[in-house]
């Protein structure tokens, strides 16, 4: 608790590490993860640092590993993940690792190159096979289809006439090939345009997808055959084919030749297949062996790289024997760091122990909270709003209670809360097994990381749900209601008879003031809301009123608490100006306006009952009138809320009004005054005094504008938060009610509960 409220005490350390032991020491510190190194050479380029070559070697190894990983994934081989975390290898081992990876990469590249050429060959043969098969059908069609031959003949004669009667000597030539299917339409169009329609293109799709040897992707292709006449057209057609990356294959004209060719192609494909299979097997073996170690290699290389990156941030001592580092660490962890450094020196076999000095600095230390798995979730919520500065009060220990509680105040349902609680409990109990799955999906990770928050929210929702008497938005009658309809019926009737009679009646009124009916049994429901309200017609009016008032009470307490937490900050920093200029007007403002409202609410609850409810004042109107100094004389014969309330209220308003300028102006003006004094003092002494705003660690925080902004935003926040709290319940209740109505009406429409309404 104390740890979480104020961040860890930090210290800046200077480390002197022996050049030969530095690597091992940083490695040990890295495993520990308790120090934050500072970059001592922020102006130096990445490539001008000492260990740039080592980092380059690591980059190279990572590239090889990525290549291996890509190939392994391509073949769908599982990568072994044992979950163990190897230590960073020694620099000497790095050379071995490099050699291993180099060898693997070369082997793989060799195998791949070989496989690629084989696959290319295979692709060509397969394409040829398809061409022969498809063209067979083309030619057969051409033989049988009368129309087609006519067209061909017509083409020939036309061409023949142009050539001046030499038709007899001309015959149709053809080119056959394979093209990517998506390029076919453009190809066809261009052919037609360039050859002015004097070619005949026939195409057929290859049903099976072929593998591109270079990328390994599956591509869809089409077989085409083009008939044309004359050499000029031939060169053009060939140029277009080239332009569209179509591969051309020789296709014999006669059927017998084609058949012969097809047979030889088939045998060659089979031969190739066997060779290809052994190559693929070899590749598999290589990759399988690599897959076993891949993860470890990745971690090792990553660690080496991280160590050298860290070493690059160090200063090198003049004699080159020693590296000087600066790092932030928590004071409590110094022993552990000493120990780690000693281990590192022993590992490196160095005789001179490393030196660790604490340095004093004026710089603002980093904020470090020691969190555990329960508090980490809450801390991250707080961090999303803003990280506390060093040793500043941290709201998260309080948020562990207030956040789930305020959620539950809104959610407030016993049934849903139980479901939520159980779901979170399941995650908490099985967190060891579930932890690895959290990496897989972002949405699931959100829930899983927030499991303790959900658990708390569920637990608090059960509590508030019981108070609201809401279980899946229905009330539960556990202790028996404090109200009764019995008095309105004949006393001789049995309860069953009354029940049947009640069903027939449209509405019944339960008036606590009606002594004869005895509707009010005078024993209140022991815990939470009386279930009779569930069936009452004015349920919403009643519960809204009570929830609104409760939430105002809770909200004002919450806000007041926050202001007091900020007081601890001011006191911690011994900043009396903030106490006087911020805290006091804030408290007066809050208490004078809303604190008074809270007292009125409690007073109204205590004093007004069913008997004198017609005299109960409207607090909201009352609050508004208080600021307008308007006090109506006409009270309908009711006594005032309490005697002398006018005087007190006038006093409060007069107290609140000066708070606003006090909050807004006092502190900034004093700060400005101080700065002016400082500047004047500096000018008089003839020194080049740096501007206080420019100093990052200047004691004077912020400028006038920020103070002004903070003051006004605080005031706006106070008012708007209260307004929000007032309005938040209404939609929530409305939805619950409508939901049940719709369920009753249709019984089909699914609906979800909107908890944040």
């Amino acid at each position: 608790m104390g740890d979480l409220f104020r961040s860890q005490e930090m210290t800046l350390c200077q480390l002197f590490l022996q050049a030969e032991a530095a690597y091992a020491c940083v490695s040990e510190l890295g495993e520990l993860g308790l120090v934050q190194f500072r970059d001592l050479k922020p102006d130096t380029n990445a490539f001008q640092r000492k260990f740039v070559n080592e980092i380059r070697r690591c980059d190279e190894m990572e590239r090889k590993l990525r290549y291996l990983e890509k190939e392994i994934r391509k073949d769908g081989i599982p990568i072994l993940d044992t979950g163990d975390n190897p230590e960073a290898p020694n620099p000497r081992e790095m050379v071995d690792l490099e050699a291993t990876l180099e060898k693997l990469e070369n082997e793989l590249r060799e195998v791949n190159a070989y496989a690629e050429s084989l696959k290319k060959n295979f692709l060509e043969l397969t394409e040829l096979k398809h061409i022969l098969r498809k063209t067979q059908t083309f030619f057969e069609e051409a033989l049988h289809d009368q129309h087609m031959t006519e067209e061909a003949v017509g083409l020939m004669t036309e061409e023949g006439m142009m050539a001046g009667g030499q038709a007899a000597g001309l015959r149709l030539q053809s080119v056959a090939g394979v093209i990517l299917r998506e390029r076919l339409p453009a190809f066809e169009r261009m052919l037609w345009r360039v050859c002015r329609g004097n070619v005949f293109l026939k195409q057929a799709e290859i049903d099976t997808a072929l593998e591109d040897p270079a990328t390994g992707d599956k591509v869809l292709k089409s077989v085409f055959i083009i008939f044309f006449q004359g050499e000029q057209l031939k060169t053009r057609v060939k140029k277009i084919c080239e332009g569209f990356r179509a591969t051309l294959y020789p296709c014999p004209d006669s059927q017998a030749e084609r058949r012969e060719m097809a047979i030889s192609v088939m045998t060659r494909i089979e031969d190739l297949n066997t060779v290809l299979n052994t190559t693929v097997d070899h590749r598999m073996r290589v990759l399988m062996a690599a897959a076993k170690n891949l993860r470890l290699w990745f971690i090792k290389v990553g660690k080496i790289k991280a160590i050298y990156h860290t070493l690059n941030m160090f200063n090198v001592e003049a004699t080159n024997k020693c590296l000087i580092a600066e790092a932030w660490c928590a004071v409590d962890d110094l022993d552990k760091i000493h120990l780690a450094l000693r281990r590192g020196t022993e590992r490196a076999g160095s005789s001179i122990p490393p030196i660790l000095n604490r340095m004093s600095t004026r710089e603002m230390p980093p904020t470090y909270f020691r969190v555990n798995k329960l508090t980490s979730g809450f801390q991250s919520i707080i961090d999303a709003y803003g990280v506390a500065s060093y040793r500043e009060a941290n709201p998260s220990p309080f948020a562990i209670v207030t956040f789930p509680f305020l959620f539950a105040v809104m959610y407030g349902d016993f049934g849903h809360g139980t479901l939520m609680f159980l779901a979170a409990l399941w995650m908490v109990l099985r967190e060891k097994q579930l932890a690895p799955t959290a990496k897989l999906s972002e949405i699931w990770a959100t829930f899983f990381n927030g499991r303790y928050i959900i658990l708390m929210m569920g637990a608090f929702s059960i509590y508030t749900g019981l108070i609201y008497n809401d279980c899946f938005s229905r009330s539960v009658n556990i202790f028996g209601s404090g109200w009764s309809v019995r008095g309105q019926f004949n006393q001789s009737l049995t309860p069953d008879q009354i029940r049947t009679q009640v069903r027939g009646i449209e509405s019944l009124q339960l008036n606590p003031n009606d002594a004869q009916a005895k509707a009010w049994r005078a024993n209140p429901y022991p815990f939470g809301l009386d279930p009779v309200w569930q069936v009452s017609g004015n349920k919403i009016t009643f519960t809204n009123s009570i929830k609104m008032k409760t939430s105002v009470v809770l909200g004002v307490i919450h806000m007041l608490f926050g202001v007091f937490v900020s007081l601890t900050n001011h006191l911690h920093r011994r900043d009396m100006l903030s106490v006087v200029g911020e805290f006091v007007p804030q408290v007066l403002f809050l208490l004078g306006m809303f604190g008074y409202l809270v007292i009125l609410i409690l007073y109204k609850w205590a004093v007004y009952s069913g008997r004198n409810s017609n005299c109960a004042p409207n607090l909201l109107i009352g609050l508004i009138n208080m600021f307008l100094f308007r006090y109506d004389k006409a009270t309908n014969g009711c006594p005032p809320i309490y005697t002398g309330y006018q005087g007190l209220q006038t006093f409060l308003v007069l107290l609140i009004i000066p708070c606003a300028p006090w909050m807004l102006l006092v502190k900034p003006l004093i700060l400005r005054r101080r700065q002016q004094m400082l500047a004047r003092g500096g000018a008089m002494m003839g020194q080049q005094q740096p501007q206080p705003q420019m100093q990052p660690d200047a004691g004077v925080d912020g400028g006038d504008q920020t103070e002004l902004g903070m003051g006004s935003s605080r005031m706006a926040a106070t008012i708007s938060m209260t307004a929000i709290r007032l309005s938040i319940w209404e939609p929530d209740m409305g939805i619950t009610e409508r939901r049940w109505t719709s369920v009753r009406c249709s019984c089909t429409r699914p609906s979800t509960r909107s908890s944040t309404a």
């Binding site: 490539f47 740039v52 980092i55 590239r63 290549y67 453009a186 360039v194 140029k239 080239e242």
Partner: protein, 349 residues
Amino acid sequence: MFSESMFSVDAGYLEGLARGFKGGILKKTDYYNLTQCETLEDLKLHLQSTDYGHFLANEAGPLTVSVIEERLKEKLIIEFNHLRTQATGYLAEFMDYITYSYMIDNVVLLLSGILHDRPIKEMLAKCHPMGTFEQMEAIHIATTTRELYDAVLVDTPLAPYFADCINEEDLNEMNIEIIRNTLYKAYLEDFSAFCQQIGGTTAEVMQEVLAFEADRRAFMITINSFGTELLKEDRKKLYPACGRLYPGGLEMLAQAEEVEQVKLVADYFAEYRVMFEDDGTGMDKTLEDKFFEHEVRLNVRAFMQQFHYGVFYSLVKLKEQEIRNIIWIAECVSQRHRAKIEAYIPILE
């Protein structure tokens, strides 16, 4: 006003992305560090600490400038396509317009390659990946502009721009330059009209950027035409008519016969006058560099306004300038020619 308030419905996310990408543009200190590099490996190491991250991490073996260039362009393309695939409506069309200028460059590059009998594979590698189109590789079947149009360009978005330069002449050096400039003229005018059609801040911002682009072309055409066979009447036809020079300035430019006369024309326009002036710092920047600097200024300014498409255009142009800068520095580093390494165009402070 209305279009601005509805802007974010369709393009708000993409504008956010574009501004994010702009945030990754190298700053002055980055360039300073880059110019300190001794080898390309150093360059790679420094780029790793910028938004480029590990874009070179998977390159085996010795690094070359061309590999760096390829990867830089690839990164730009990936970012651009990421934006383009999610864009809808006007924005999608607008982003297509951006690619057209690269298409024009590619067409012209391929044509000149054909003219000099270079293998098409080699030329394709040099093409800017932003301007690739399907029929590009078959361009070498064309020998005249008519064939080029009929066979290749008719299916591309460039077809309407090409209508003005169809004739039966064989392709030659001069021809190709005319094609380039005619296409550009038509493209700029069309793009400018399209931006006006979108209206609002987009029109306002793009008007300025495109007007400068048009004027720059007009100046460069004029200056480059001196000493060639290009006739004045033909030259006049190449000036894009959507810049600030239009119409008076263009008339005068059309009459110019030497650089001095071009300067006289520029004198009428405050922002162009400074480009032709000797700034007296002793650093003799070329006119081209000054134009580039001005372009960068305009494009950076485009980011000052919100709710318009101009940021996408400017992003591409700024990124392109950044690629040019990095390549320049990389070339200087690899050729150990450090004297001119400072001659890059800084983009952001």
